[in-house]
């Protein structure tokens, strides 16, 4: 019996190894095939290979998929038009993890990426921007907003505001519109994004004579119970609470404040975008939440309306700011490549020099702002729009 079993297993193992041989021989013939296809693509369609990494799965997937979808719409529109510039887009998943982002980036490099969309979220983008800098591949990130993303890298540009700018712009906006006099801040002290915004917000608030009456934090391990932070804000009489964080802890804060009977004005940043799409979230809790974001899906201009309609048609939801940022990135590339007279047969390094020259000198009008310009550090200059959540949707404040 045992012998039979063993011989069966041996036979099975042999069959497996034979199968392995089969696939081996298959792969040896592969280079010839791929050579053919490379020839073909070079002859019939000259395209720029555009790549990016983003969290397509994992806790931040909502941002990555939005950016990918937005970029895809732009690429398809451009390829369908009579433009001489054509793109091929490829997104790789980095699950909002720096190490995986570098692997994803390497996969894109093997694929032959010529220009990059960087990474969608800050931490991974800090890692991939070091790589694009070393490899001389130009990168324009739709949404990685930390300062370290662009710092010291001449070929790394941002489509979104840098974190410090978000903090000071929020303070400025609150002061200009007189939204609150006593301000509480709840922020996440183990997150560069949250800390960056908090620091500049506090600095700017002091300049504008806004009183910060409560300044409390949370971190990864204790991000479930916010009763203490909210009680602190409430007892200090804060009438506006600033929340520089992502939407997931924010949803808990809204629920807990509601059960405490505390209803200040809530003011969020771009990470708040996405709260309305959480499954099971009671959107009445977010009623009246304000946030500063460069994109307003309710805007009535032709370009925005067309983009929103197309996005809804394809993906069944209202695009958020990340989708619009990525869409703008592709169009900014198109404009820059056209102006530079670039052709797809150029190497990544040649394109990199051309793009640095173009981006620092051009003015771009997109969904997320008109008259955008970039300085040599890679930071964008555009004006943010105030938004408020009403009846479960975003409405522009201005």
């Amino acid at each position: 019996m045992k012998k039979k079993l063993i011989s069966l297993m041996l036979a099975f193992a042999m069959a497996l190894s034979l199968a392995a041989c089969g696939s081996d021989s298959g792969s040896t013939s592969a280079p010839a095939d791929s050579g053919d296809t490379a020839d073909k693509s070079a002859t019939d369609a000259a395209v720029f290979k555009l790549g990016g990494t983003g969290p397509l799965t994992g806790g931040a997937a909502i941002y990555g998929t939005a950016a990918k979808n937005g970029a895809q719409i732009a690429v398809d529109e451009i390829n369908a038009s009579d433009s001489t510039i054509k793109f091929e887009l490829k997104y790789e998943d980095d699950t909002h993890d720096a190490e995986k982002a570098v692997n994803a980036y390497n996969a894109l490099k093997d694929w032959g990426m010529q220009i990059s969309l960087g990474s969608v979220t800050s931490k991974p983008c800090e890692a991939t921007s070091a790589e694009t800098y070393a490899d001389r591949i130009f990168a324009l990130t739709p949404s990685a907003s930390s300062t370290a993303t662009t710092e010291g890298k001449d070929n790394m540009f941002q489509m979104c505001f840098m974190d410090p700018n978000q903090g000071s712009a929020s303070a400025q906006y609150i002061a200009d519109k007189a939204l609150g006099t006593k301000i509480a801040i709840i922020w996440k002290n183990d997150d560069v994004y949250s800390k960056g915004i908090h620091d500049t917000f506090v600095e700017k608030a002091a300049e504008l004579n806004l009183a910060v009456v409560s300044d409390t934090t949370f971190a990864d391990g204790n991000d479930t119970d916010f009763s203490v932070q909210l009680a602190d804000a409430q007892t200090n009489g804060a009438d506006l609470v600033f929340l520089p964080m992502y939407y997931q802890p924010a949803s808990l804060i809204f629920a807990q404040a509601n059960s405490m009977g505390y209803a200040p004005t809530w003011f969020g940043v771009d990470g708040m975008d996405g709260i309305l799409t959480m499954e099971g979230f009671d959107s009445s809790l977010a009623e009246g939440v304000m946030l500063l974001t460069p994109f307003n899906a309710d805007a009535t201009d032709e370009k925005t309306a067309a983009f929103v309609a197309e996005y809804q048609n394809r993906f069944g939801e209202v695009p958020n700011q990340f989708a619009a940022d990525a869409y703008d990135c592709v169009y900014a590339y198109k404009q820059a490549l056209e102006a530079a007279g670039a052709t797809p047969d150029m190497s990544a390094e040649e394109l990199c020099d051309l793009m640095i020259e173009q981006f620092t000198s051009m003015t771009f009008d997109g969904l997320t702002g008109a008259g955008m310009t970039w300085d040599a550090s890679g930071a964008v200059s555009k004006s943010p729009k105030g938004m408020v959540i009403e009846n479960g949707g975003y409405v522009g404040l201005d």
Binding site: A219, V228, Q229, Q248, M260, E279
Partner: protein
Amino acid sequence: MTFLNFLISGISLGSIYAIIALGYTMVYGIAKMLNFAHGDVIMVGAYICFFAISRFSLPPLVGILLAMLLCTVLGIVVERLAYKPLRSAPSLAVLITAIGVSYFLQNAALLLWSSSPKVFPNFFTVTQSPAPDGTAEQTVRTGIELFGGQLKISFVTIVTIATCIIIMLALTWFTGRTKMGKAMRACSEDKGAAQLMGINVDATISMTFAIGSGLAAIAGVLLCSAYPTLVPTTGSMPGIKAFTAAVFGGIGSIPGALLGGLLLGLIEILAKAYISTQLSDAVVFAVLIVVLLVKPAGLLGKQVREKV
């Protein structure tokens, strides 16, 4: 009044830690292994209950029972596949396997249910019917109010504490009075001797995991009712805190888990409120170190002298 409010927040957080810690301590006390995957079984339980209620609109009680049932099965399967083959292996190997199972469950949840956070429905509510004369609208109450609304205790907290005490008493009775419970204690003292006495050690340990996982499902539902976002990593951090609570109260001691959990929650909230929100975890663990220095076996743990 603020202090009382903090006390209530502390107790509600602590009761969640306590209910998770009960599962940890139960498995450790009997199988003498740290089941680090406990926190992730909690997450699975919460997901099952969530889908039962929001997707298949089953009544909450059915959802909880279903979650308990499936988690019990999951606990037994995990024990059979991952821990049983290592019964005679050194405890370090089992510990690492438990960490592996924890990651496996998290990633499986990520694939099955995706990462986008789900908001858990709160079904511990009382709906007040509208007054007949139309003076008051229909309201949904989530807790009781004392002192004219200055003090609020949510129903979830009350239910959690009551459940904790019931589970604690039931476990104490079970391990002390029933035949199976006695077999469990015998296994925990000496597996070899227990086997010689005719106790089926494997079945006993499987039973321990089944009970531990069933408790995890209840803990998951209560955790997500109190703090309603649900993601695949929901269970991991509360799991670690609850493990700390179990050590704090004396791991292996059932009343110790309850005491440790409540104290941990209270210290965490009070440290946040009166010391600093940035340092609350540091304070919690500093207290833990001091307690372990004074009482190495934890607050209610038994000092077992190793015989040489």
